[in-house]
C-alpha cells in the first residue's frame, strides 16, 4: 500500500514537472511538430479504418432492434449520438493508447536504458523538455483532432449502411443525424479527448522515462503504458460522462 502511494506521489511530481517545464522557454517547437506528425499523420490510416468500420457495423447491429418498432428512420440521429458522444473519443483514445502509448513507453524506455537520455543531458539539452513535454503536448492536442476526424468517418460508415438499405440521400442523412447533436456534445468530445490524450502521453512518458533493468524494463514500460492508459481512460470516461449529464444537461 505504501509503495502504491509513493508511486502516485511520483506520478504527481512527474505531471507537475510537465506543467512547470511546458510553459517556460525555450520551447521545443520542432520536437513538438515532429511528434504531431508521429501521433497524428502516422495514426490516420488506422483511425480512418476503425472509424469507418465502427460506424458501419454499429449501424448494422442497431438496425434490427429499431426495425422491430419501425423506427429505422431514427438511425442517423442514434448513430450521431453514439459516435459523437461515446464511440469516437473512446475508440480513438484506446487505439492511440495501444499504438502511440506503447511506442512512447518503449522508445523512451530504450533511450533511458541505453544512456541516450543521459547523453542528451550532458549535451546541454533538457531531456525532459525535449522528450517528455513534446510528446505529452502532441498527444493532448492531436487526440481531439483524431477523435473529431473519427466521428466524421464513423458517420460516413453509418451513412453508407443507411444509404444502402434505405437509399437515404447524403444531405438528408446528415441533417437528420445532427438534429440531436448540440455544440455541448462537440465541446465535450474535444475536452475528454484532450484529457485522454494527456493521460496517454503522461502514462507512456512516465513509464518510459523511469524504465530500468535493461530490455526487460523496456518491455515492461511499453506494456504498463498501454494497460494504465486504458484503465485510466475508462475511469475518466465514467467521471466525465457523469459530470456532464448531472451538471451540464
Amino acid at each position: 500500500m505504501k509503495a502504491f502511494f509513493l508511486r502516485m506521489y511520483d506520478i504527481y511530481r512527474f505531471a507537475l514537472r510537465f506543467f512547470q517545464e511546458a510553459f517556460v522557454p525555450p520551447y521545443e517547437y520542432k520536437a513538438i511538430w515532429d511528434q504531431f506528425f508521429e501521433v497524428g499523420i502516422r495514426s490516420l490510416f488506422i483511425i480512418s479504418l476503425t472509424g469507418f468500420i465502427t460506424g458501419l457495423v454499429f449501424t448494422k447491429q442497431s438496425r434490427s432492434s429499431l426495425a422491430e418498432f419501425g423506427a429505422t428512420s431514427w438511425l442517423p440521429s442514434l448513430m450521431a449520438i453514439a459516435i459523437i458522444r461515446a464511440l469516437a473519443p473512446l475508440v480513438t483514445a484506446l487505439i492511440i493508447a495501444g499504438k502511440v502509448g506503447s511506442n512512447i513507453g518503449a522508445e523512451l524506455g530504450s533511450m533511458k536504458v541505453t544512456e541516450q537520455v543521459d547523453a542528451m543531458e550532458v549535451s546541454s539539452t533538457n531531456p525532459f523538455k525535449f522528450l517528455v513535454v513534446s510528446r505529452i503536448i502532441a498527444t493532448t492536442c492531436i487526440v481531439p483532432v483524431l477523435a473529431s476526424y473519427m466521428g466524421l468517418v464513423g458517420m460516413l460508415g453509418a451513412y453508407l449502411n443507411v444509404h444502402t438499405n434505405e437509399q437515404t440521400g447524403f444531405y438528408l442523412f446528415f441533417q437528420a443525424a445532427f438534429v440531436r447533436i448540440s455544440f455541448l456534445d462537440i465541446y465535450v468530445l474535444v475536452f475528454k479527448s484532450a484529457v485522454y490524450g494527456f493521460t496517454i502521453g503522461l502514462a507512456g512518458c512516465y513509464n518510459g522515462y523511469n524504465a530500468d533493468q535493461g530490455t526487460v524494463g523496456v518491455g515492461r514500460a511499453a506494456n504498463t503504458s498501454v494497460v494504465v492508459s486504458m484503465f485510466l481512460i475508462f475511469i475518466e470516461e465514467m467521471i466525465i460522462v457523469t459530470l456532464v449529464n448531472n451538471y451540464l444537461k
Binding site: T114, E115, Q116, D118, A119, S123, S124, T125
Partner: protein, 255 residues
C-alpha cells in the same frame, strides 16, 4: 600526455561521498585534474568509477563534498548554469549512447544545433565534416547507428562530444567490449583528441592497456577510495595486494 608545468586545475573534488541505500560507493574522494593532462581512473567493476565521472558531469549529486569544474561549483549551479557549463564538457559513454533514431549526421548536429542556434547550415556542415575527419569516419555520415560497428560507434560518440570543442573530455570505459586492435585505435584517438583539441581528460577504465597508452597520470580506485596515484609504473610498483591482484588478473585475462 604529461601534466602541464603550471598545473592549472580544471577539476577539483574534495571529500566526495556518495551512498546508494546501504552501499557507500565513494568514501571521501579527493582529486585534482590539471589543464591539458590525461588522467586515468582505474578500478574494478563496482568500485565507483562511473559514479565519480557522473558526479564530475553533474549527472549525480554527491552526498557531501565539493565539485569544482572549470572554476564553477557544480552543486551551487542552477539548471541553466549547469547546461552552460556542460557545453564545455564532453562525455563519451560506455555504450556510445548514439541516438538510434537519427543518422550519424543528425547525431553530430544535435548538440551544435541546440547550443549554437545562430549557426547557419554551411557552418554546421563544416563542423560535422571536421569532427568526422578527426575521428576518421567521414564515409559514415549518412549511416544509421545500427549500421556501425562497436568501434565506429565509439568514434562517432567521441565526435559528437568534440563538435562543441569541449575543454574537458570524460571517457567512461572507452575500450570496453572492443577487440585489441580497435581498442588500440581508440587509445590513439584519445591521445589525438587531447593534443589536437588541448582537452583535459578523465578516462575511466579497468583496461590496463588503455591506462598505459593514454594516462599521463593514473589513480587507482578501490572500495570508494583512491589507493595509489602517479605514473602507470609508480602505481603498479605498489606492494598492496589489491593493486597487484588487479594488475595480474588484468594481464592474465587479456592474455
Amino acid at each position: 600526455m604529461t601534466v602541464t608545468d603550471h598545473k592549472e586545475t580544471v577539476i577539483s573534488l574534495r571529500n566526495i561521498r556518495k551512498r546508494f541505500g546501504p552501499l557507500e560507493v565513494l568514501r571521501g574522494v579527493d582529486l585534482d585534474v590539471y589543464k591539458g593532462e590525461n588522467l586515468v581512473v582505474l578500478g574494478r567493476s563496482g568500485s565507483g568509477k562511473s559514479v565519480l565521472i557522473k558526479i564530475i558531469a553533474g549527472m549525480l549529486t554527491p552526498d557531501t563534498g565539493s565539485v569544482i569544474v572549470l572554476g564553477e561549483d557544480i552543486r551551487s549551479l542552477g539548471p541553466r548554469e549547469l547546461q552552460a557549463l556542460r557545453t564545455r564538457i564532453g562525455f563519451s559513454f560506455q555504450s556510445s549512447a548514439l541516438y538510434d533514431g537519427m543518422n550519424v549526421r543528425a547525431n553530430l548536429e544535435f548538440p551544435l544545433v541546440r547550443n549554437k542556434r545562430h549557426l547557419g547550415r554551411k557552418e554546421i556542415d563544416t563542423a560535422v565534416a571536421r569532427v568526422l575527419e578527426d575521428v576518421g569516419l567521414s564515409q559514415t555520415v549518412n549511416q544509421m547507428p545500427s549500421e556501425l560497428s562497436g568501434g565506429q560507434k565509439k568514434r562517432i560518440g567521441i565526435a559528437r562530444t568534440l563538435i562543441l570543442q569541449p575543454e574537458i573530455m570524460l571517457y567512461d570505459e572507452p575500450t570496453a567490449g572492443l577487440d585489441p586492435v580497435t581498442s588500440a585505435n581508440i587509445n590513439e584517438l584519445i591521445n589525438k583528441v587531447q593534443e589536437q583539441y588541448n582537452t583535459s581528460s578523465v578516462i575511466i577504465t579497468h583496461d590496463l592497456t588503455c591506462a598505459k597508452a593514454t594516462g599521463g597520470r593514473v589513480v587507482m580506485l578501490s572500495e570508494g577510495c583512491f589507493l595509489r596515484q602517479g605514473s602507470f609504473e609508480e602505481v603498479f610498483a605498489s606492494d598492496d595486494a589489491r593493486v597487484k591482484d588487479f594488475y595480474n588478473y588484468n594481464f592474465i585475462t587479456t592474455a
